[in-house]
Amino acid sequence: MQPYDLPDQFGHFGQFGGTFVAETLIEALDELRDMYAKYKDDPEFLAEFHHDLKHFVGRPSPIYFAERLTNQIGGAKIYLKREDLNHTGAHKVNNTVGQALLAKRMGKPRVIAETGAGQHGVATATIAARLGLECVVYMGAEDVKRQSPNVYRMKLLGATVIPVESGSKTLKDALNEALRDWVTNVSNTFYIIGTVAGPHPYPMMVRDFNSVVGKECKTQMPEIANQQPNAIVACVGGGSNAMGIFHPYIDDKSVRLIGVEAAGDGIETGRHAAPLTSNSAIGVLHGNRTYLMQNQEGQIMETHSVSAGLDYPGVGPEHAWLKESGRAEYAAVTDDEALKSFHNLCLVEGIIPALETSHALAYAEKLAATMPKDQVILVNLSGRGDKDINTVANISNISL
């Protein structure tokens, strides 16, 4: 059997992906693609990357057997890949370390980023401080409001946070604005995209940097669980934590790969952020072809999710391909279900998960109940929930 080797040289995953950008960005993307190709297998670059992952991020992250959660559900054993224990509190930092090291090698003194929940912005600001790079983060004005602790974190780390007032004032608009900045400052600026979206080579590069998660799991699971997982569950907004843990397992067909989108108020209400689960049409946004929440005339729709990090109308093109090819499955979890699992994990395991991650947990709980006790589910615990306590308190009518 031929090993999985997508994307092709043009960044296509089947009909998805590609390079749909204005001409001004083509040269910058060509340069990035060439430099990434040069360094991705370069022993010195990789040594520096892994050194930072170990000593700055704190990798490898442990895998933890959630025994009380497992007993509470009474089905398959649930294991958690603890990306929440990384420096800055989420998987996002794996990718920002990789891209920032690349920026340094390319001689770019300025990095920019878009952020939704603020985790990618914080991770970018962090590594920019560490490497002495100027950092500008674009964040939807709505998200600036609901994620104020992360906004302050970025400022403490020396980044400039620019609230984006255009469109729906969320993640997609932050991405638009970051692309506009990049077009303008292309000669001295490296755009650190935070998810497996954007034009080629971003979906591939972000996946590669995050696949350290899945690679560690492959080693750790036999040690802690005496087997590889029967199913892996991860939340999907753009889909970087899911691609990171899925990718090393794609050729291992005995492992089910399940991505969990945000159903918001419920798929049937239309107020959600689940392009895959809701069978959205295929379209072009932010440089790639993928499934997109849009109206019949191709205008991108406003999305809804309690978690800012999942509030995105598209999805990484590789997920679109994994869905179409049948290799991965996708489901969606409502705000209410995610919040219930958020509180439950706090109480049963002493772990405060991110609201994004809580979507994966909610699905894993449902799935575990349908599987025998000798089977194993691995959940990517992609981030910690400290950033979300204001949101959760608000929903519970508690003022902090």
Partner: protein, 264 residues
Amino acid sequence: MSRIQTTFTNLANNKRKALIPFITAGDPHPDMTVNLLHALVDSGADMIELGIPFSDPMADGPVIQRASERALANNVGINKTIDLVKDFRKDNEHTPIILMGYANPIEAIGLTNFVGAIKEAGVDGVITVDYPPEESKEFVSLLLKNDIDSIFLLSPTTEDERIKLIISQATGFIYYVSLKGVTGSANIDMEQVSERVNNVRQFTNLPVAVGFGVKDAKTAKEVAAIADAVVIGSRIVLEIEQSNKDDLIGNIKKLMREMKDAIE
């Protein structure tokens, strides 16, 4: 000969340069668009670029973004845009109309549907900002089969090999983006533009239009000295944004005449 070709040939015969204003369809209101198009022609437009409103106009600066938002608030999308061209054509058969937009609305209604509808409406050319030649082969061949020009952007960062590739798929004219940035950005470096436009001319006999940073009559005049056409977008859209409904047509005509005088 296509309307675009005819227009450029006539202009060249008279040693004149084309003035190409841009407006967004449905801005400030769909009832005004056809009147605005006629007013542009009356005040010196040789061709018109008509923007298809899109929710996520990544290559546009704040002025044209707001125009898109106003148009979308008026429920003007790609279908209505095509209808407006059809209405314009009832009273004007000679001024080329070039649609400018993004790939997603076009793909949403289907490439074949789109090309069929714009052909019927009397559209002459299409610029799709986020459709580089590598990703738009099917679309370009559909356009050409229907005698609609496929117009591509070249940027200050486009290298010679790539210029050749793009030109091999381009018809109508070449649109040179005068600066690194979004529409309506900072001032342009005329010396650099001149050098780049001359460089482009080595590879093609197609007319070269310059746009993206032409904010005033002085710049328009300088651009006209080196290019075959001057595109004025954000400056016109800003005038639309800042004008009362009653003054709108008058203000636009006045601005256009200033630009026209400058490039003559």
